[in-house]
């Protein structure tokens, strides 16, 4: 098995409602995959199941040949399975620099040290500088996150994820809510993601999906209904059916 | 808003009085007591006793004007107690300390007395051991063992062979339990069960059920005065123990006069032993009650701590007379050793060796007085009781 990351028959239901049905999926290192689907299709639930925020009813999650299904969310992150959040979850009182520094320190196992200064390590500071620089966040590095633009907050989500040096990155709608003037910056950031990284992106913006992904998976009602090249998506009857209930999406797909 | 204004007015008044009377020839007495919070009533009684004494005996002793400074210590808190005592001694330059409602608060003050060259006259705190912690302590209240011990004999005399004890689970409660057990068993009785219930108990029915199950003919109880006594006496009546003829004995904390209106008819017939009843029939007490009622602002608030404070002031006055206003704690304490006088509660004496007060203990029964209000009616006197807790040591 050369797959870096694989899920097998992942299922989950809340009460009687099945939100994930028998999802199987695999990704190789460096792959760019987009996961799309109408609202309520179970995309975020899928991410939560994969990263361990939710416990699956059945199925397995395999990372680098190792079954991580029984591991908690924290251990999966440490193994390289990292996500961003659809609605940014950032600390409004802290600065981007502090966010990324904390993340880097955590990755190096130094985050719960009491007897060292938060900014004391020049190696860490350099890395933080690089990460922030790569995402164009240097100018706001020392402002409180509550005061920076939403687009920059989304970039910071990505910066935090990158600081963890992931093997697999799950991006939950990285461009959601970002004003259109700022989307190019997000797109640019996505293009610059390390090439060895396997990236799964959930996104509604189909232009972005087409430019970013080499492969698209469509989820509807908790089930995979399509898997293939972006160019084939729009023509697939099942996909059309799934989206027809929602005119806006149907149009954007077409 | 009027309350706020009045308080402000009182505050400004207090400041003014404080600054005017701070002259050379005044002798200051610092009184520490619970003037606010859950025990505010007892603190008010301290104040009433002090003011009654000064109203009846003048504000001077041997020509020295006496000024009283009150400090509030709402609940047992030794650290605050020490801080207040230190402030009174060092900053306010008081020559005498008085008051103190709780034992640990007294314990926090006694180590300071020698250095401060200041005697402490305890108006209430009722654990025997306090007296051993400093030779400069005098106590004009009582100890729980002192007020409890006569009950052992009373119970036997009334035909009770088996008794159950129920006390609040804290120092004085345990003291009361031990004292009763000792006296009761010495007189030939048997304590079949001893229950210590948590201080914050509010529903006593299950405990009364336990009393019934124990088969005891008499029930000895100790609870600190205040709200819980209400539920306790009610439960005794309502669960039918009273009807079943199970006799009830307790020290007088349980039926303090200020609680009687609230206890109501449920309390009628309860027998308690104590060193003082507001209804005590003597000319000294008449004068005292009149003055103290005026000071406290209502007859229904008057209770036993007032007489401890009244006699405490008497002791302090005697100390001032003996030292002629000079600060000499040892001389002051020596002067009152063996002092005896007629207190509103009856004849009393400061024992020279223990510095604790020897006094009559009265068996009283809750009954309607001549005006229809409930009183503790004295039915039997046990004269000249010392503190058995100290005597045995």
């Amino acid at each position: 098995m050369s797959d870096l990351f694989r899920v097998e028959n992942l299922s989950k239901s809340f009460g009687g409602l099945a939100v994930s049905r028998d999802i199987s999926l695999s990704m190789a290192a460096g792959e760019r995959l987009a996961l799309i689907g109408p609202n309520g299709a179970g995309k975020t639930t899928f991410v939560n199941l994969v990263t361990g925020q939710l416990k699956p009813g059945a199925g397995r999650v395999i990372l680098g040949g190792e079954d991580v299904t029984q591991l908690g969310a924290v251990r999966r992150v440490r193994k390289g399975l990292v996500r961003t959040f659809q609605v940014t979850r950032l600390f409004s009182e802290l600065t981007p620099e502090e966010h990324v520094t904390l993340t880097v320190l955590q990755r190096e196992g130094k985050a719960s040290r009491i007897l060292s200064r938060f900014r004391g390590n020049s190696g860490v500071a350099d890395e933080v500088h690089d990460i922030l620089g790569a995402l164009g966040l240097l100018e706001v590095a020392r402002r409180k996150v509550g005061q920076i633009a939403y687009g920059q907050q989304r970039l910071l989500e990505i910066a935090i994820a990158l600081a963890l040096k992931p093997k697999v990155l799950l991006l939950d709608e990285p461009a959601a809510g970002v004003p259109s003037v700022d989307t190019p910056r997000i797109e640019q950031a996505l293009e610059r993601l390390p090439s060895s990284l396997a990236v799964l992106m959930i996104e509604h913006d189909m232009d972005l999906v087409f430019r970013f992904a080499k492969r698209v998976v469509v989820l509807a009602a908790g089930e995979i209904i399509f898997e293939g090249a972006p160019s084939e998506v729009a023509a697939d009857p099942k996909v059309r059916e799934a989206y027809l209930g929602n005119y806006a999406h149907a149009r954007s797909v077409a | 808003m009027t309350a706020g204004k009045r308080i402000l007015g009182a505050a400004i008044g207090a400041l003014l009085i404080g600054s005017v009377s701070a002259q050379a020839d005044t002798i200051k007495v610092g009184i520490i007591g619970p003037f606010s919070g859950p025990f505010a009533l007892q603190g008010k009684n301290f104040q009433a006793g002090v003011e009654a004494y000064m109203a009846l005996n003048g504000k001077t002793a041997k020509g020295h004007t006496i000024e009283v400074i009150y400090r509030d210590l709402p609940a047992a808190n030794p650290a605050q107690s020490r801080a207040l005592a230190q402030e009174l001694v060092v900053k306010e330059k008081v020559q005498y300390l008085g008051g103190v409602y709780f034992t640990p608060d007294a314990m926090a003050i006694t180590p300071l007395l020698a250095q401060a060259n200041t005697p402490l006259v305890i108006f209430n705190a009722a654990t025997s051991a306090i007296m051993n912690t400093s030779p400069l302590v005098v106590r004009t209240s009582f100890t729980t063992a002192q007020t409890t011990t006569p009950l052992g004999k009373v119970a036997i005399d009334e035909g009770v062979k088996k008794a159950i004890t129920i006390v609040s689970d804290y120092g004085p409660g345990v003291d009361a339990e031990n004292a009763f057990k000792k006296a009761f068993e010495a007189a030939g009785g048997q304590v079949v069960e001893a229950i210590r219930m948590p201080m914050n108990t509010t529903d006593f029915s299950p405990i009364m059920q336990r009393v019934r199950d124990s088969g005891a003919g008499g029930l000895f109880a100790f609870l600190p005065s205040g709200p819980p006594t209400l539920g306790f006496t009610k439960a005794y009546n309502e669960t039918g123990l009273k009807k079943a003829g199970i006799k009830f004995y307790a020290p007088g904390d349980l039926t303090q006069e200020s609680d009687l209106p609230a206890l109501g008819e449920a309390a009628e017939g309860l027998k308690t032993s104590f060193h003082y009843a507001v209804s005590h029939d003597s000319p000294e007490n008449k004068k005292f009650v009149e003055a103290a009622t005026k000071a406290i602002g209502g007859a229904d608030q008057l209770s036993f701590p007032s007489v401890g404070a009244y006699d405490g002031m008497h002791v302090i006055y005697k100390m001032i007379e003996a030292t002629d206003g000079k600060q000499d704690a040892q001389k002051a304490v020596d002067a009152v050793k063996g002092l005896s006088w007629t207190s509103p509660r009856g004849p009393v004496r400061i024992e020279p060796d223990t510095r604790h007060i020897t006094q009559n203990i009265y068996l009283r029964e809750v009954a309607k007085g001549s005006d229809g209000k409930l009183i503790n009616k004295e039915v039997q006197t046990f004269p000249n009781q010392k503190d058995p807790g100290l005597a045995t040591q």
């Binding site: - | 859950p38 505010a40 210590r196 209400l230 609230a262």
Partner: protein, 287 residues
């Protein structure tokens, strides 16, 4: 068997007193998201009013209860208008600060005007007599309290689940902004809920006075117990509050019967156990 019944009925009566007082707090905390530590202070104010009405004015018990509820609500109106409205939606700890402040003020003012003595509310003849239940005698008042508790629980359930006000209330709780947009006057809904909660505190304060005697320190003395009951039941849940009061009443009463010396250990150990098993309370709303 007789003992078990006996303990059971005591537990029921005590639990119901807790319920009547605490359900108001549960509503303010669960539905209005206000940690009102001054809740006990309102129960106390009601006790004073009832005591004054029944003892000093010689009015009947029922009239005294009525006056106490109305009087307490009237007193609470300016407090709601000028103080509580400032802390709706504030962080819990800010609410704690404000409501503790109010409690201190109420205690101080009560002590100043009414003195520190216990106040009683004389019961009518019918309620003060012991009633023979066969296996034991019990004060009629305890049966009355149990009945009051049942009526309050039923009435509240009906109000919240079955009336249009209940619908508005639940909508406001779920999403105040949305309800506002839908034409619900949320300020009014809040004010009415607050008044209901205060009214219940008042009722509990008066009928519970036989268990929790009225005196100035009442407001702080029982605060912990009220908080514990509400949390164990789950803030905002009527059924949860009922169960919590009954369970805690039972644990407390049984503990005090079986092991009076360790009554508190028993009680708080049970609280820890319950909270660990049901971290949101018996029927708490998801946060």
């Amino acid at each position: 068997m007789q003992t078990i019944f006996s303990i059971g009925i005591d537990a029921l009566a005590f639990g119901m007193v807790l319920f009547i007082i605490c359900i108001g707090l549960s509503l303010t905390m669960g539905l209005m998201r206000v940690v009102n530590l001054a809740h006990g202070a309102f129960a106390m104010i009601a006790g004073y009013i009832a005591s004054y009405a029944a003892r000093d004015l010689g009015l009947g018990y029922a009239v005294a209860i009525f006056l106490a509820i109305i009087g307490t609500i009237v007193i609470s109106i300016p407090l709601e208008r000028f103080l509580y409205r400032r802390i709706y939606g504030s962080p819990e700890l800010t609410q704690v600060l404000m409501t503790i402040g109010i409690t201190f003020c109420v205690i101080g003012i009560t002590n100043y005007f009414f003195g520190p003595t216990l106040k009683t509310i004389p019961l009518p003849q019918a309620l003060s007599q012991p009633v023979d239940l066969g296996f034991r005698t019990i004060a009629a008042h305890r049966l009355f309290v149990i009945a009051c508790g049942a009526v309050v629980a039923g009435g509240l359930w009906y109000l919240i689940e079955r009336t249009s006000f209940g619908i508005k209330l639940r909508a406001t709780v779920d999403n105040a902004a949305m309800s506002d947009a839908l034409g619900v006057r949320t300020q009014v809904v809040y004010a009415i809920s607050f008044a209901i909660a205060i009214g219940l505190a008042a009722l509990g304060g008066v009928v519970g006075a036989e268990f929790l005697p009225i005196e100035p320190y009442y407001a702080l003395r029982y605060m912990v117990m009220f908080l514990v009951v509400v949390s164990v039941g789950g803030a905002g849940s009527i059924l949860g509050a009922v169960i919590a009061c009954l369970v805690l009443g039972l644990v407390d009463t049984t503990g005090r019967y079986l092991m009076p010396d360790f009554g508190n250990f028993f009680f708080y150990a049970a609280v820890i156990l319950i909270v660990c098993l049901f971290p949101r309370g018996f029927f708490g709303r998801a946060q």
